[in-house]
Subunit: 340 residues, 2 copies
């Protein structure tokens, strides 16, 4: 999936800020792509972007209208269609993170056809991929893996991209989830791909690159999650990472949505190495990323220090302490990659 910037953020008339979480994530990480917002009467979300009409946005060069809001049931309300059709008629593509497909509204489907505009439903994959080949391809790759779902894998990969670019590395975030696709303008919601093509889709997401180029690949789920481990393993094999960062939420008692306890960080390291060696024999951990939002500053600092000692790896909370220590370790292990 490819979503072309710059974006106009369409918020509809959602009832609160939380419903615009995806849109907010895009603004946080790609402020330079987000030209404005378009809200309907009654909208209670605000991205602090200039409010724009469709015409103003088109004149400002917007290429894509982003429907980056969550809605009860993921549906597309009928009274949003007119705005979407207006954007298509003004020359924009439309990309949506809703469960309902854009083309399920005949007016939208028909307008897109008439004006030859692209409708992208980020939660659905219409693309057909080859099956994964597992053949080593050039370029360096890092994958964020987890003890569980929703422990900061996307955030960590994006924080690494930002830090590495600021230090002069040639590094790109690679998206495997819907918010990530909007943020990078490219990628696949890997959990929506047909099972046979998981690793093949990841090979497309992170293709052959220059030898010192870094792909920072957003992980999904956990090899230890009974619902989603298949996705995580296909992602690991397709990513064929040179290295990985383990992401963790220390206060969680059971894995998300099920009754299973969390694995230890050591187990996660061992199993990712064991399985990842299939497509990259040199795979190794380079850091630990902990989401310490439920800990005090002192507790957080104690925890990352203890983890560093226990695993002989840099440990950090990207939000509290940044990811400089992880990047230093990467530079130490892959010194040639900075020269690029």
């Amino acid at each position: 999936m490819i979503v072309e910037a710059p974006y106009l953020m369409f918020l509809g008339d959602v009832p609160d800020q939380l419903a615009a979480k995806t849109a907010q994530g895009i603004v946080d990480w790609r402020p330079e792509w987000c030209v404005g917002q378009h809200r309907l009467p009654g909208c209670k979300a605000d991205l602090k972007l200039p409010d724009m009409s469709i015409r103003q946005a088109a004149e400002a060069g917007v290429r894509t209208l982003i429907v980056g809001v969550a809605n009860a049931g993921g549906v597309l309300p009928d009274h949003w269609s007119a705005t979407i059709v207006e954007a298509i008629e003004a020359g924009m593509d439309v990309a949506s993170g809703l469960h309902a497909r854009l083309a399920s509204k005949p007016a939208i489907a028909e307008a897109a056809l008439r004006h030859n505009r692209r409708l992208t439903d980020v939660r659905h994959s219409n693309e057909t991929f080859a099956t994964g080949k597992g053949t080593k391809r050039p370029g360096l790759r890092l994958l964020t893996v987890g003890t569980d779902c929703s422990v900061g894998k996307k955030y960590t990969a994006l924080a690494l991209e930002k830090e590495m670019r600021s230090q002069g590395f040639d590094a790109d975030f690679r998206a495997t989830g819907q918010t990530g696709v909007f943020i990078s303008g490219r990628g696949v919601a890997i959990d929506a791909v047909v099972a046979d093509f998981i690793s093949g889709a990841v090979e497309w997401i992170a293709p052959a690159a220059a030898p010192n180029h870094w792909d920072l690949i957003e992980g999904q789920g956990s090899l230890f999650h009974p619902s989603f481990a298949g996705v995580s393993l296909g992602l690991l094999h397709g990513a064929q990472p040179d290295c990985f960062v383990v992401c963790h939420e220390p206060t969680r008692k059971t894995m998300r949505g099920v009754a299973h306890p969390l694995p230890s960080i050591r187990e996660v390291i061992e199993l990712n190495i064991r399985c990842g060696q299939l497509t990259n024999p040199a795979i190794q951990p380079v850091g630990i990323s902990v989401n310490t939002e439920h800990l005090s500053e002192i507790e957080a600092r104690r925890l990352v220090e203890a983890l560093e000692k226990e695993h002989a790896l840099p440990a950090t909370d990207p939000i509290r302490f940044g990811v400089g220590s992880v990047v230093r370790n990467m530079l130490n292990l892959y010194p040639q990659s900075k020269a690029a």
Copy 2:
């Protein structure tokens, strides 16, 4: 997916016997369900079943017309539609293993709607499953796993079902691939499911059962196959098997479709235990199933004896030597399951 027996096997006008491989597999394992065959002029395949008109088959009580042939490109030739429509009008459901969907032909879609008949495309999944929960459910389960794809996992599970039923076990083959779905009349082509629902679909395929009932679950792929390991891991977690049989083809040099060498049987045992413990801590191997078709009788016998010694497990070729030794081991380890 549910396919109701008895079946009429529709062979179209395929040019050779190989094109009817799926249909032949159904006849081999479920002769009692296969009432007859229907062939168009020029058909070069023959299942050695009575040739029947659609009317004769309907009068004989056939419930489903099975399109169990492979075709160049998996398409549904236009000149097959009339026969399929005739079967629908005679009251039959239709189930197909082609890539092309039955309903892609308007005449077929319209007839099914008008007569309220079910069209099943075994290669496609329209069902929505819950995500896997990983909660232990009652009943005993065996999964066939592999060093590679296409090494006899379906055959081994079916051979175990036949042998166990003949010995009075309460045992059911559970299908995870298209031929298996036709053979068991129920199941899901697991590689066609959306990635997020692999383990959830397997929980549906092999649901809670009586404590001494055996599900013999058809495995797919291999944890060591770089294209399909995600499917295999989701299947392992969803199946939560008490035990597994490792299937192997000893003359294969690289894994199917890729350049990777085959893993050892020991590696396959270790990784399936390591990962399978997540949803069934008591998981253990109970046998090794070797496809020795490319070996002489003497070589085959030497190989299975060597494997038995090396792994302290019964080893066999189900076709050459039967699966009695594996079932004896299962009875030894789960003696209560025979009493059922």
